[in-house]
Symmetry: C2
Amino acid sequence: MAMERKQRVTLEDVAREAGVSTMTVSRVVNNTGRISQSTRQHVQSVIATLGYRPSRAARALVTNKTSMVGVIVPDITNPYFSKIVQGIEDVASERNHSVLLVNTNETPSREEAALNQLDDSTIDGLIACSSRLPTDILISLLERHSAVVVINRSMPNHIASCVLPSHQFGYRSYLAARYLAQHGHTKIGFIYLKRSVGVMSIEEFIARLASDGIPIKREWCTLSLPTWEAGYNIGKQHIAAFPELTAVIGGNDLVALGIMRAAVEAGRRIPEDLAIIGGDDILLASQVTPPITTYHVPTYDIGVMAARLLFKRMEGDTVYREYIYTETLIERGSAP
Amino acid sequence: MAMERKQRVTLEDVAREAGVSTMTVSRVVNNTGRISQSTRQHVQSVIATLGYRPSRAARALVTNKTSMVGVIVPDITNPYFSKIVQGIEDVASERNHSVLLVNTNETPSREEAALNQLDDSTIDGLIACSSRLPTDILISLLERHSAVVVINRSMPNHIASCVLPSHQFGYRSYLAARYLAQHGHTKIGFIYLKRSVGVMSIEEFIARLASDGIPIKREWCTLSLPTWEAGYNIGKQHIAAFPELTAVIGGNDLVALGIMRAAVEAGRRIPEDLAIIGGDDILLASQVTPPITTYHVPTYDIGVMAARLLFKRMEGDTVYREYIYTETLIERGSAP
DNA sequence: AGAATGTTAGTTAGCGTTAACGTACATTAG
DNA sequence: CTAATGTACGTTAACGCTAACTAACATTCT
């Protein structure tokens, strides 16, 4: 008794069974060209009974299109990025495209590896979020791709469309510092992220605030990974090391929350002893006690717009486009 | 001046340039077969200068392997799932596989569409999380795939390996109810999810508790989507409709948090006026005030194990395997 | 020395599609 | 009535790669 091997049903099988050419079947499947009603229906019924499913690989080989878009994020676990991915996925699925997700765990080397592996033969377009790579490396990697959209990073040579905040990077933390100063704070700490200063260096950040009459010491500023754990650990050290601080800015909400937890454990009252401002406005920020003052970012829309810009590019539009979003301050209990 | 069209560099280009056959180049690229050191190095240098990158599509067509695994989740925005995806992605990337993510937004039709589109020619294996589809439909859809792992759902015919909680589904809510009863609560509400009763119907749930001497009225139990918003909205109605309740179980933490918010807005003190228990133990649960009593679920490990089981299957192992995880009660302030 | 074995390569034939062109027949226009 | 125009399909040749086989040559063994 011969083992029935599960065999792929090909276009040719359908064509033979239906008594037509493979091209006819192909045209029915793709709904292209002109086909008579009767032939179409007949072929469709044969397809159904045989259970034919087109081979994506073969199709990709000849058309050079894979119906997949790549998405690179540093941390899918961060609600900020998962919301963006959700937006991207919604648009992609609407257009019958799949999402190839690469989660780099905040590791530049893994990001580079991912960009190296992915290329035209894998995906039709690419959306890169908050790349940690230096611009020149990033550009060389993105050059392989015919359609690219970059989130939160401008591309000087217009090699990609961009989704950007209305302020330059780091600006929201600058605004947060001014907000705190206006509310009487003079000793303000800053637990910043690589990307939260972006094009602005932490030194520029300090200098700029100094010229506004807001003196911030360099040691009050510490680099952190954009995770709750990092915020918590650095927060603990920070609070112990600089008891004079009356306010702290977190690079994002996760970090701000970690700081807040550390502060509470150290016996500080929020906001009386220590005011805290975050960024991103993830769900968590509004639910804790006190709720966190933060900058709202329209993450879902960012994903949607990035995907739309990408599809524009994939459709051959070579015009450089930007989608600008605004971050708005949400005043809540942690820094009233 | 002729436009230089960006042209793909093929194996043949490399072979011609290096003065060898395409097979030799292929062997160098794939590191298979025996190649002399000198030839290998020569070919590699030609590959580097020409910037050759293998075509995934062509490779997939001939090998029938795509180096991609599909992952279907209902809501990537839910930390529960994003953690699982992170675990899967880590294992996959370790083995040079990419993750094709499908986010169904809790919509069964979209899930079915996704399972329909994906098949062997797209992915080498599939991990399905918490499918909302009826078993028979799910089975018929999974049959197309050579390697499948299902999370939080048993597959009667062993068509897929499984990652399962040590208790049958719904059991943790049952335990939560018993816990609350032991702490003196007699009027316990339950905002449940489709999957939180799983194989157990809500009627069975009530009957079982009744036989334990814990009478729960049917109207105290309401179905909810597994989101914060749903929990909040249903929580508001529930609290207004059944002021007699002294405790509520949420199907997961997001729902429990929504309920808690609604309760606080209605002037209830937690836990004095209303005790709340959630499930999953997402970060949020430990950070709110009061922190939420919940069942911890090792989500990252679930993802890792699911991926490992999947790779076992992809490597040809046809043994049915299960990975069983335990959910442990974390007592916190919302239900001490 | 001759046979057996090992090593390094080349040759051939697809994998399952679709683009581009070709052909037969029916319809309309002049 | 012939020529022009459609309509509905069929044919052929790739797309870029690798499995499977073959070939040449070097090495070892008896």
